[in-house]
Symmetry: C2
Subunit: 84 residues, 2 copies
Amino acid sequence: MPTIVVEVMPKPEILDPQGKAIANALPHLGFTGFSSVRQGKRFELTVDGEVTEELLESARTAAAEMLSNPVIEDVVSVTVAEDL
Amino acid sequence: MPTIVVEVMPKPEILDPQGKAIANALPHLGFTGFSSVRQGKRFELTVDGEVTEELLESARTAAAEMLSNPVIEDVVSVTVAEDL
């Protein structure tokens, strides 16, 4: 079934305490070489039937208005994945 | 700065109440044509310097052992994004 993948990340100027906590924990667990971590969200919207341009546009609007908070988050990408 | 992107999703057999809530809300907001929604996580690990094979392997291990809960989540991908 075709799936539309929406990726959302906190805006660069917004503090990301979860990402910060992960970045601080990584070296303690032996994972070095990473300077910072940011945590965002990934949504898979399953589509019944074909992904039309209209449906993709609807997904883009949903990503901007509902799946993300435009004050603190950016929609990184809205892409079609056929083989999930 | 090169960035390693880690994507994590709930396993297909695991209930995803957040995704379910979104799927239920979409039609009420006028977004139709989506049959289901799953919500996962997206991590950006910023790397100081070059992404070596060793560092990528380290990121894969961190993804499997720390960024995801292997009981309920799958690591969907660990990829290098040069231009974030």
